[in-house]
Amino acid sequence: MKKSNIVWAIALIVLAVAVILNTVGVDFGLKNISAWKLVASGLLLAFAIERCLEGEFSLLFIPLVIIFLILEKEIALACGIPSGDIGPNWLFILSAVLLTIGVSMLLPNKGIKIHINANGKNGRIKKDNVVRDGNTPESQETTANEPALDNEDDSDDCDCDSDQDNEDDSDDCDCDFDLNEKAFDKSFKEAFKKGENAYYNRLSSTTKYVDCSKHREISCYNKLGSTEVYFTNTENFKGMAKLMVVNKMGNVEIFVPNDWVVSLDVVNNLGNVDCEKSPKANPKKRLVITGYNKFGNIEVTYTK
């Protein structure tokens, strides 16, 4: 299980017990603290611990200061300050902000790393601050400058290996689809790294023109955005072009000359894939579209 999930699970359970005990009147040192303050402080503390475990120490101070401000009166009374005011709030907040900036400069967050476990059966992609299998010779690491594919984690995924042993879990997910997705993600990642006509679009609108006199294999990754892929310089094109599309909650429109035959082999998951029949199909000119579509829309349009 993921470390952060363990922290949150323990925090929620402890908080639930603490709130009940507090309401019942059991004295465990927090008798005078209201339930809301207790819950808010507990959640902030869990957040701070979780961030520390993830190696982001700079995010520790602000939650701690907020906890301090929430419980200022109680802390002051415990310290023997009857007024309940330890100091001006802005001073604590300013200190926390300065500490956050200072610590983040000293210990910069490690950034997002995408780790492809190349020898893994399903080409799992992990986003972690700590690369777990970094010593694997086939493994490849990339930094945040490269396309940040989905964060996949062992705990969240349908792990096909473990599902073979656990039949109850295997009913909850479609392993084939999962495998396909990861294979396509990995394939796109590799194409992108090699600079092989791989287009990445996230949260924006873009049009990509493919020079068919040069390129035959194109990869397109679209997430929450709109991508248009246009095949151009097609007069002398003969043979087969391949387009791999990964579309997640976005819109991909593919403009194809009207004499091309389009073969669609896209795994569609709760989305829409639309391709009409070619009006002047010439079997010598083919486009094979592979990939997967998740909650998005893929449309093939024939041009004049």
Partner: protein
């Protein structure tokens, strides 16, 4: 509009004399003439083949993966000039649409405005399109109005 033609065998270069009380209108007429009548061909490449294409057939120029491409309604050519060089040499109907794109305002058929992001520009007789960024949207619209509407 009154059009007069003087045939002068002694004149070395052809010229057009515009008489108008409105300087903006004169500028628009000049831009249209420069964009349509006084255009020359440009040389582009596809692979090792050199092509000579009329400037008024170009819909837009854009940078793609470090290369400058020129798009006509059907083809895409490669240029060896930079966008800055092209911007200086192109007729006035070409305007910037983004840092990586120069559009022929005479070829624009529609602009779909997007309040939150770049607006989509479509061209005449083709499905090709580009996106104009918010910073350049007004310049493009003004140019289209100046050349084609007002």
């Amino acid at each position: 509009m009154d059009i007069k033609i003087d045939v002068c065998p002694s004149v070395a270069e052809e010229g057009i004399h515009i008489k108008t009380p409105d300087i903006q209108k004169a500028q628009a007429i000049k831009d249209i003439l420069l964009s349509t009548v006084f255009t020359k061909d440009m040389d582009f490449f596809i692979g090792d083949t050199q092509y000579f294409v009329g400037v008024n057939k170009i819909l837009f120029f854009e940078t793609d993966d470090g290369k400058i491409t020129a798009h006509t309604s059907k083809n895409m050519y490669y240029s060896r000039s930079t966008l800055q060089e092209l911007e200086k040499s192109l007729p006035p109907c070409f305007v910037r649409a983004s840092k990586s794109c120069i559009i022929n305002a005479m070829a624009v058929s529609s602009i779909t405005k997007n309040l939150t992001g770049p607006s989509k520009v479509c061209f005449k007789n083709t499905e090709k399109s580009v996106y104009v960024s918010k910073n350049y949207y007004k310049d493009l619209k003004d140019k289209i109005y100046a050349l084609r509407i007002k």
